[in-house]
Symmetry: C2
Subunit: 419 residues, 2 copies
């Protein structure tokens, strides 16, 4: 079915989405992965636990798309009706799938919990289903095919949906595409999205076999290059060639890595590679730098910790910022940022110290230091430097804090490069 | 049109949603507000900038719902086609809306930017539109009515959609509802969602005039009571009566507040009220406690800061945890948590010190301290106490860290109550 690009749509079920209790991150995740596979996504839908409405949405999806991916409704309760609804639509009977039952039993044994009778429901499958075993929870996923169309059913919790999709649904989808697809992400900091898009347009010609898209998040930009070819090696070659073209251009000068994930991931990797250690003294970011670094499991070899110094007194007590400096230049100043970075490096004994002090808003701005003014300091055994940010005061507190943390990580990466 | 509950659906437009570049937070926001208004939401959809697909989705929405709320597509470019598409569907001509043009001109003057010719497009409105002026950007919002149905069109950026909805679309919707609606949120910590739901079922009878829903997030549960009556005061009375019924029950014993927002908000408010100050020493939460507290603008009067002590050496250097304690009991122990809480309180001079040390995983667990083991310490001038958590090792690192921070906030609230 792949003479033209495949069309998929995403149908998420769950009252909690319709009540606004949770945000639909599954749709965003699936969309990104499908786009990477060169599959077009023209519709997302969300519907509740009502089998009639669910059935209507599946039918409508099949009428306009090749593939319908449903998330949710594979649980053990009577409200979980996805498999049953699709089976009825396809005229298939439900029957016990023994390998799934064995998997569910073993999952409960492994986690030391008692399996209740209704978990058996999760092992019931429509006749002819392609079952995707779930190693991350109790609900196996599945695909059901009719004519040239497929319905893929995945569990709702992202902690199960994401690994299950990558491990099993994606390879299944790849068999539907007569093409090999390879993607690379180039991570950029310090150049705006529209400037990047312009430069890339001049460098690469967007063709069905090669596309480049830019994604922006609080000052960071990710360029995703996707190449399609008859074989994996041809696609890889095409992708690599154009990634290098970008890396050798002006844009590449702002890149902090290829396929490295977040900038804090790049920082942890770089610290590991050079055997260096980091600490942070945070005022306006209030723990966000530490939080983002310690989101990464295994960061403790390279991140010693640090201080959240939300008052002048604590800046002085914990990391020795001079009272005179605070009085003369104020807490939000280049001088204070400098002493904080030095202070936290010496207090923790790390190789690199980083600091932030600024006005995250929405209140607290003055004429000299309006909301969005942030000083970021860095200290190593070679010396110190401070970067001043003047972010728009129209930006949210969250944006200003995140962008400050990202700038701090950028400074750490540049300092590591010099070591 | 309000003999039965109104039905609305949400239709978000934008390629960036279909590409997975952004998460659909608008749908969650609108759903929650509509639910609060007693309006049922049975469908969300997302569609791209294609006028045919957009038109089909609007038509389908109108066939099954009373109100269709569209976000996005009100911008100045030729891809922004929401108004034009709905106007064509309703057989209305587009014409210049002079007050909107004046607003747009004044917006550009105010923000010191130059208005380009295509911004005039944003002042074009379908005949008969009810225009909602936009004080937060350039695109005015609007409603278009036909028979007893409405289409509400809002700009896509959340920074415009959210205030515009609250300020203008919500009052418009209230005119469609022949009822007053009042909601209250009771915030619970320390009791599971299903136990709460059971107790509430026994206390309240779910009727169209009174509903109670529970929402769960990393160990916290929010009960939302919504009352509907002919007048505001009757609805308020009904809501208040049942909120008190819950507060006097066993469930109320686990409540940390009514309409207080997050638990960290409750902590900041309680600290303000009692004139107390807080600091935190974080190991496994790695800055998350400080981050969550400092998300709140104005927390600096009550939050002094603290330390992220990711290594034993930093625990000793910054907050004086004894080397002997670390050697004898280990970093993840009751004794270390206790000394960390005392240490950070004394080092910062705050009234209350809180600490976390544990194994957030996925690696680092041992037989005695498996992943999910966390010790949370609290210290005040009256003494110390430590809570041990044994979270399931199947939980994600993110869950374990968030739940640990939430437990710390719960302990702070309990300590403040005793003061």
């Amino acid at each position: 079915m792949a003479d033209r690009a495949l069309i998929a749509e995403i149908l998420c079920t769950g009252e909690e989405l319709l009540l606004g209790d949770i945000v639909n991150t599954n749709a965003a995740f699936l969309s990104e992965r499908l786009t990477d596979l060169g599959i077009c996504v023209y519709h997302h839908s969300v519907v509740g636990d009502d089998p009639r409405r669910l059935g209507e949405c599946v039918e409508e999806g099949l009428s306009r798309s090749d593939i319908v991916i449903i998330s949710g409704g594979l649980g053990p309760t009577k409200d979980d009706l996805t498999k049953e609804t699709v089976a009825a639509l396809f005229g298939r009977k439900m029957k016990l799938h023994e390998p799934s039952l064995a998997d569910i039993k073993s999952y409960f044994e492994r986690t030391g919990r008692t399996m209740s009778k209704n978990n058996e429901k999760q092992a019931m499958m429509p006749e002819g289903a392609i079952v995707f075993p779930n190693h991350f929870g109790t609900a196996p996923a599945l695909a059901l095919e009719r004519d040239s169309k497929s319905v893929i059913m995945l569990p709702g919790p992202p902690s199960e949906l994401i690994p299950l999709f990558c491990e099993q649904a994606e390879p299944y989808l790849r068999t539907k595409i007569n093409q090999a697809i390879v993607s690379k992400n180039i991570h950029i900091f310090g150049m705006g999205e529209s400037a990047i898009a312009e430069k890339i347009d001049a460098l690469l010609i967007d063709t069905p076999s090669l596309t480049a898209a830019t994604y922006c998040k609080e000052g960071e930009v990710r360029i995703r290059i996707t190449a399609r070819a008859e074989t994996e090696s041809l696609a890889s070659e095409l992708c690599e060639e154009h990634a290098q073209k970008i890396m050798r251009s002006e844009v590449g000068g702002f890149a902090y890595g290829v396929d490295v994930g977040t900038i804090e991931n790049a920082v942890v990797t770089a610290l590991h590679q050079k055997g260096l250690t980091l600490s942070a003294a945070e005022s306006c970011t209030g723990g966000l730098i530490a939080k983002r670094i310690t989101d990464i499991s295994g960061c403790s070899d390279v991140f010693f910790g640090g201080c959240v110094t939300y008052t002048n007194d604590v800046k002085h007590r914990l990391i020795g910022v001079k009272e005179e400096t605070l009085e003369r230049y104020g807490a939000v100043s280049e001088q204070t940022a400098r002493e904080m970075a030095v202070g936290v490096r010496l207090a923790t004994g790390s190789d690199i110290g980083i600091s932030t002090t600024g006005v995250a808003g929405p209140t607290g701005g003055t004429a000299e230091t309006p909301v969005g003014t942030v000083f970021i300091g860095i200290s190593t055994s070679e010396g110190e430097s401070v970067r001043r940010l003047s972010l728009s005061s129209m930006r949210s507190r969250e944006y200003i804090r995140q962008a400050s943390a990202t700038n701090a990580f950028d400074m750490v990466l540049k300092a590591i490069l010099l070591k």
